[in-house]
Amino acid sequence: MTHTFGDLVGHRRTARVIAPDELAEHVKGLLAVGYRPALVAGHDDTTRLRAVYLFTQAGSDHRVELHVPLDRAAERLPSLAGLSFPIGRFEREMRDLFGIVPAEHPLPRRLVRHFHWPRGWYPMRADAGDPPEFGDVDGPYPFRTVEGPGVYEIPVGPVHAGMIEPGHFRFSVVGETILNLKARLWFVHKGLEKLFQGRRPDQGVELAERISGDTAVGHTLAYCIAVEDALDISVPAAARRDRAVLLELERLHNHVADIGALCNDVGHGILHAHAGRIREWLLRANEEITGHRLLRGAIRPGTTRLLAAPDTEFLATIAMDVAEIAGLAVEHSVVRDRFGGTARLTAGQAADLGVLGYVARASGLTFDARHDHPFVRPPLPRSAPSHTEGDVLSRFLIRNGEIQESVAWISALLDGAADLEPDLPGVAARSGVGIVEGWRGAIAHRVEIARDGTLSRVKVVDPSFFNWPALPVALADTIVPDFPLVNKSFNLSYAGNDL
């Protein structure tokens, strides 16, 4: 490894300032030795703009930051879309929010940019001001046209028949077989990252809890770890253990809901009803443990506050119940037929797209931030994914496997398996990174704190940002009536994706 990583700026994190033309060389080197792009963020330092690339290495838990300052006169970066697909998406996001142009990007279309924003208005810039009135629509939204005998299009959404978030899906179909799917998202930009700016770090918690309603713990924890990293706040070992427990409790109630919903989507209502019962039990337990059914309010920078310890016997019963439901589902020949082989995402595709979480594990990738970027030691041992076919069945069964694993891990944590080493002393570099395995996958937050102690920039990356492009890839050659099932097996966040 011939790279010089630059200066140590935080927990296992080094940073280096480089010029735009050095970028490709550095990134190539990092990707070659197994680093993965975790986050790319634009910054407006008023006198100039700055792009920050954060790479993480799974085995060593090293984090490397590349800072690329950009003069106001030349707000351009060489596009790295050819090296890494996720970086290409981050570049488009940066262009839409900051006006930093990725030169020679292979797909220079807007990504997060709202249809009605006036041209040349970049909401994350310091001088952007209040959101303008919606202007003229910014040109037609180009959908790829598929031509041929019998090909027709099915537009769905953004308003749906069920209670789900807004997304528009354009299917090009022959008969019932999907030839091409374009998911048009980004209807709900809330300016969340901007809302963080100017708040004190403890005031950011309430925002972090609401980034994605079902991931309150994941995002709050990533945010708090980032703040603690930036200010070198040490967290008592017991508090870190409680955080690990809360993270698993969140995984439990979400995975149970998904298991039920997947059964419901193939019309097997009775298993959905029972999954609903189990989820309600879990939510009530959550309320006893934290005072909030979705586990808000427990995690703060530097501390974790639980009202009661989780009942491990109760959780063991839940795990058995869920295993029974999952068993009944896959033993049902029709359910198995609907799940098995449907919408396969190969390991190669998953790796190329940088997919995270259970979607990645169901395709055979093993990345898990609980193991690779741990905040309790010893970390969760790496277990080989139990099902790696990449189809709906694997994504269904892997959730059951993770529920079993979570319950065992909570028991182990509460029994003192983690030997509760004291927190490593770090440096207060006023920038911090938090990486947490939320229930959907690895969440990354990066914060910068100004001299006056307020947040000057918070960048949030939900795993959905990485996983959304995998959905259309998996759906090729799947039939239209299976789409809701496949979509649920991915269960990606719209809110966490469109900040």
Binding site: Y152, E153, I154, P155, V156, H160, A161, G162, E176, C263, D265, V266, G267, H268, G269, I270, A273, H274, R277, H332, V334, V335, D337, R338, I479, V480, P481, D482, F483, P484
Partner: protein, 315 residues
């Protein structure tokens, strides 16, 4: 036209209209209870209908007369069937219409009207639902005809009343091989025709998986109420026909008030028992992949063919 026929012509449509939504309510309630849910009660479909009938009629822009006429066509065809078919009384006010082919054609006409309405909306879902419904109907109708034909062979008439009366006279016919094979085939096609699991999921909210619901997505207010009522009536009529073709006992054979009352009660009991059996069965079922539906329906067609063969060779 006999007195019994006239009485039947008045009583049967009333019973079907009033009772069908209750039947649907009972089926939903049973399913809810079996799944551990409280359920909305058996009167919920009627409450929904009352609410929908009280709304202003709205038709989407660009739809034409086909879209507006389809709910009436659907209700009308089902009403005619409930008027003529031997449901509560053996005699029919319009005996020639109580014919196997006429009844199946009437019920299919309603389905076609709805599919045309789905196409008339010009939306992707209407077209998609219509296309799927036609795929299913094309497989269902032959089975329906062949299965009932198997029953008509021993009787020597395709008149439904004649088939029912003949079974009443000769009860052994109800458990003949032909009859049993035809019964199984008919159960499958009725499940498909009325959009129940495992062919269609009547309670789904996922637009892309719908068959029947996709065709009627654009309906609102009184039109939707008519479509919902007609769907319930079709389910009731199909179950009543199924019951009377194989277990006709209790059907009124004279025009006396007690006989007619007994006929209506027997009809209600038979339909409720069948409906509840269907609802209980659905708890254990999941929805088939769309491309597996033809396999199921091909199987039922084979059973119907065997029934015809059996009715010739084993009679």
């Amino acid at each position: 036209m006999s007195a019994l026929g006239i009485v039947g012509g008045v009583v049967q449509p009333l019973a079907v209209v009033a009772g069908s939504p209750v039947l649907v309510g009972m089926m939903r309630q049973v399913r809810a209870r079996l799944e551990g849910r409280a359920g909305p009660g058996i009167a919920q479909p009627w409450r929904d209908l009352r609410k929908l009938f009280g709304k202003e009629p709205i038709a989407p822009r660009g739809t034409g007369v086909v879209f507006r006429a389809a709910p009436y066509a659907l209700v009308a065809t089902t009403l005619v069937v409930s008027f003529v078919a031997p449901l509560a009384t053996v005699d029919s006010p319009l005996d020639p219409v109580a014919d196997l082919f006429a009844v199946v054609a009437l019920l299919t006409a309603g389905t076609v009207a709805l599919a045309l309405a789905g196409l008339d909306t010009g939306t992707a879902f209407g077209g998609m639902g219509a296309s799927r419904e036609m795929t299913i109907v094309a497989l269902v109708e032959p089975t329906l005809l062949v299965a009932v034909f198997a029953l008509s062979v021993p009787v020597g008439s395709t008149n439904l009343a004649a088939i029912v009366s003949s079974t009443l006279r000769d009860p052994a016919r109800a458990i003949s091989p032909a009859s049993l094979l035809a019964a199984v085939a008919l159960v499958i096609v009725i499940v498909a025709e009325t959009g129940r699991l495992p062919v269609d999921n009547p309670s789904t909210h996922l637009e892309l998986t719908m068959v029947h619901e996709a065709m009627v997505l654009e309906y609102a207010g009184p039109d939707l109420a008519l479509v919902e009522l007609a769907s319930a009536m079709r389910l009731g009529v199909f179950l009543a026909l199924l019951a009377n073709l194989f277990v006709p006992w209790g059907i009124a054979t004279t025009a006396g008030p007690f006989a007619v009352l007994g006929g209506v009660l027997a009809l209600a009991v038979k339909v409720v028992v069948l409906g509840l059996a269907l609802a209980v069965g659905e708890v254990f079922l999941a929805k088939l992949r769309l491309f597996r539906v033809p396999e199921l329906l091909a199987g039922s067609f084979l059973l119907a063919l065997l029934a015809v063969a059996a009715s010739f060779f084993l009679a």
